[in-house]
């Protein structure tokens, strides 16, 4: 059997990076949420904020561990699977990754230790400061990695010498044309995604079968965040799309299923892009609207896929559908934000079952949208690895297909276990919730406090925490 190393390398990388992106997206948002809760606690003196911060810190610990280990894998996969790409682009984007490590990873790793294990050991200001520094660290990390990715989409500030890229202007490299849009789009996506998770958790606690938690502030905060960041995402995404039109016309045309440059772009609501006939089957479209969105002008025209030669055509259907999934979820979240705002205004946010029940199941939406969005931008870049400079097939390592296939199977196996168990444990932590002290420890169970996660385990399994200044629970507000 002939194994195609290019396809296998792509599948392996897509698998490991799709798995990875879930956790940074969540921890970027969650660390900021925890930092805000801690600051609210310091500022207002209300224990409910501290209780919530502690609860979310346990979930953060589990998520962050998965993000760290799957991220280390990626930093080596550039070399193991894409060695020719590494050599081609190392001069230019290598330093961006290096700066990510030095400015972000150490900051996160160091203060994470204090954030997780310092609650009863260090003064409150140090723990609060650590949560803020971890949140800043995650955002700095996003800055560098998105700069590197954006350079691969819209290379700038370089010259090619002896077949490799050399830097000419670092400002132009770091702030390459698509970077500001991609950075804003991704960081806002992370905050939005986390707000949806917080909303879902808060909604679960409001349903009658669940115990009430310290819940009102987080439901309000989540609704407020969704109501602002979801509409904001629409505007950022629109600007990002306009920004992509010029440098990557094939990607935009694939997103829109736009084949004919001479026609004003229609907004294709549904269709099945067919690369063989170069048209959409079963198309349902609103004439002119796509052109309006992309050119901000009625009857506006923009280049279609007919300008793209066959061997440079991205996988149109994947990009087309992934884009619709992302936008569909984005629109749904705008509706969730508005509905939540309306309920809050009418004083019914904590009772409206028709809102809380679906909301409690909504937690995966943001993650699905993020992965779909990355599918759009990464597959829309194909067949290029560095747009216009290096094709994906020319970027791989001289490694036999069997090695890539074998390790891909191992990745699927190990990540499958880790992911399934991680989700299971996080779900257990959420079910336990930020709830009150239980009775005395049953015999045989050590009652000394050990780690953030161990304490979480006790709660998850219904066992009490050890002595010591535990968070103040009770006072259910429901």
């Amino acid at each position: 059997m002939e194994l195609d190393p290019v396809l296998l390398a792509r599948i392996q990388f897509a698998f490991t990076i799709s798995f990875h992106i879930i956790f940074p997206a969540f921890t970027i948002g969650l660390s900021a949420f925890i930092a805000v809760l801690m600051l609210l606690w310091r500022w207002s003196g209300q224990e409910k904020f501290r209780t919530l911060a502690r609860f979310w810190t346990k979930i953060f610990a589990v998520s962050f561990a998965m993000g760290v280990v799957s991220g280390i894998v990626l930093s080596y996969q550039f070399g193991t699977n894409w060695s020719r790409f590494s050599e081609f682009s190392g001069n230019v984007i290598g330093p961006l990754i290096g700066y990510e490590v030095l400015t972000a990873f150490y900051l996160e790793a160091t203060f994470l230790g204090i954030m997780l294990f310092g609650w009863n050991r260090f003064p409150a200001w140090l723990v609060t400061l650590s949560t803020v520094l971890v949140a800043i660290g995650t955002a700095i990390s996003a800055f560098w990695i998105l700069s590197a990715n954006s350079w691969m989409q819209t290379p700038a500030g370089y010259e090619i010498k002896d077949g490799v890229a050399h830097p000419l202007d670092w400002m132009a490299i770091v702030f390459n044309p698509s970077f500001p849009y991609r950075f804003a789009h991704m960081v806002n996506a992370a905050y939005l995604t986390t707000a949806v998770v917080v909303l879902a958790v808060g909604a679960r606690y409001r349903l009658p079968s669940r115990p009430p938690g310290e819940n009102r502030p987080q439901l309000r905060m989540a609704v407020g965040m969704i109501a602002t960041s979801a509409p904001a995402q629409l505007f950022i995404g629109d600007a990002h799309g306009l920004n992509t039109r010029e440098p990557q016309p094939a990607k935009v045309a694939a997103m829109e299923g736009h084949w004919d440059s001479d026609e004003p772009g229609a907004l294709v609501l549904f269709g099945i892009p067919d690369e063989a006939s170069r048209s959409n089957r079963l198309e349902l479209a609103v004439p002119n609207l796509g052109g309006l969105i992309l050119t901000h002008e009625w009857g506006g025209k923009y280049p279609g896929l007919d300008t793209v030669p066959d061997d440079e055509l991205p996988p149109v259907a994947n990009v087309f559908f992934a884009f619709r999934i992302m936008v569909g979820i984005g629109l749904a979240l705008i509706a969730v934000g508005l509905a939540g705002l309306l309920l809050w205004w009418r004083g019914k946010l904590f009772e409206a079952r028709w809102f809380l029940l679906p909301a409690s199941w909504a937690w995966p939406l943001g993650f699905v949208a993020i992965i779909a969005g990355w599918f759009v931008t990464e597959q829309g870049r194909q067949p290029w690895l560095v747009y216009g400079l290096l094709k994906t097939m020319d970027g791989i390592s001289p490694v036999p297909g069997a090695s890539v296939a074998g390790t891909l199977a191992l990745f699927v196996f190990v990540y499958g276990i880790v992911f399934a168990m991680g989700i299971y444990y996080i779900n257990r932590l959420i079910n336990a919730g930020p709830k009150g002290e239980a009775a005395a420890a049953p015999a045989g169970v050590p009652s000394r406090p050990l780690s953030a996660a161990e304490e979480a385990a006790r709660e998850a399994t219904g066992r009490p925490r050890g002595e010591g200044p535990g968070p103040s629970f009770g006072k259910p507000e429901g």
């Binding site: 070399g79 060695s83 290598g94 190990v414 780690s451 996660a453």
Partner: protein, 334 residues
């Protein structure tokens, strides 16, 4: 171009790798020692003794790999495909043991799976790091600045031996760390484990020191040619003295010194490997200068590193300082 830039970068990456080997070495060592005690309380203490540090420790691996890409992209692009299988195996080992730090607690009382994952992942990661080192020492096939060998070239008796040696070495670091940081039964267990590990490590160092010059003429010339031999003979002597002192410190009940001794042993072994191979990054063909990134790239990253590396060392020192001191038996960080 400037000949000194690649040298500076080789020094910096060498430092990052040394930091990694020592820091992640002791926390991987904790995982390697896990199967040798069955008591849950001892395992809890062992894991807690490294819990606030492991993430920072592992960041040095990212800096070492990332730094290699930044400063020597060709070396990175040759080494990673050459060691494709062991590198990915090592990464998967690190995944399993890394998540165990959190999962093991959350899973309690059903945490057996994560005991196995923590120990297994640590052992696999350490062993494969050793085989990668061994594979590098025996040389990598390169043509046209690309890896030109097969997927299993690294797999030889020598690389497997170095793999075992690194497992023993990390276990020694872990055991002496526990001697320093814990008390009671955990510390007693660690002290009992440390002595045979020390003997194994010294024996492995002796074997590698003899095996490499016999197998590789370049290394024999480096050590035994004149005038080098006049300057280099203290290196093995210092290693022997350090080993003897560490043995004595373990026997005489010292707490911190055995860990210091193990670190010095590692640094001497590391120095020996550097002496054997400098200036090759990919023995026996590619040197620092052959594989260096564009000077503009090396300078751009160096400027930031000059300011950021002291900051990073500052944080690292800070976190070890705030969590300093011996842990009481059963104490954790709450």
């Amino acid at each position: 171009m400037e000949w000194y830039l690649p040298v500076i970068w080789a020094g910096l990456i060498g430092t990052a790798v040394a930091m990694y080997v020592i820091l992640d070495g002791f926390d991987l060592g904790i995982g390697i020692l896990f199967p040798f005690t069955r008591k849950e309380a001892e395992r809890d203490t062992m894991m807690n003794s490294v819990a606030p540090f492991w993430d920072g420790n592992e960041t040095w691996l990212v800096l070492g790999g990332g730094g290699l890409w930044v400063a020597f992209p060709t070396a990175y692009a040759v080494i990673m495909p050459a060691f494709y299988l062991p590198v990915i195996g090592m990464l998967l080992g690190l995944v399993l043991r890394g998540v165990s730090f959190e999962f093991r607690w959350v899973a309690k009382p059903g945490h057996r799976l994560w005991d196995v994952a923590f120990a297994g992942g640590s052992i696999v990661a350490a062993f494969l790091q050793g085989t990668i080192l061994g594979g590098l020492l025996q040389g990598v096939a390169v043509e046209n600045r690309q890896y030109a060998g097969g997927p299993l070239d690294w797999l030889t008796p020598f690389s497997l031996f170095v793999g075992l040696a690194v497992v023993a070495g990390y276990a020694l670091l872990g055991a002496t760390w526990l001697v320093m940081r814990t008390s009671g039964p955990t510390a007693d267990f660690a002290r009992r484990a440390a002595s045979p590990l020390l003997v194994a490590v010294l024996a492995a160092m002796a074997v590698v020191s003899l095996w490499t010059p016999v197998a590789v003429e370049r290394i024999a010339e480096r050590w035994f040619g004149t005038p080098n031999i006049y300057f280099l003979w203290p290196v093995p002597l210092l290693a022997a003295l350090t080993g003897f002192a560490t043995w004595h410190w373990l026997r005489s009940g010292r707490h911190g010194l055995p860990f210091a001794g193990a670190i010095v042993l590692f640094l001497l072994g590391y120095a020996g490997l550097v002496i054997s191979n400098v200036p090759y990054l990919v023995p026996p063909t590619l040197t620092f200068w052959d594989t260096a990134a564009a000077p503009a790239s090396q300078v751009f990253f160096l400027v930031g590193t000059v300011f950021l590396l002291p900051l990073v060392l500052g944080y690292t020192a800070f976190v070890y300082w705030v969590f300093r001191g011996k842990m009481a038996e059963g104490e954790g960080y709450h």
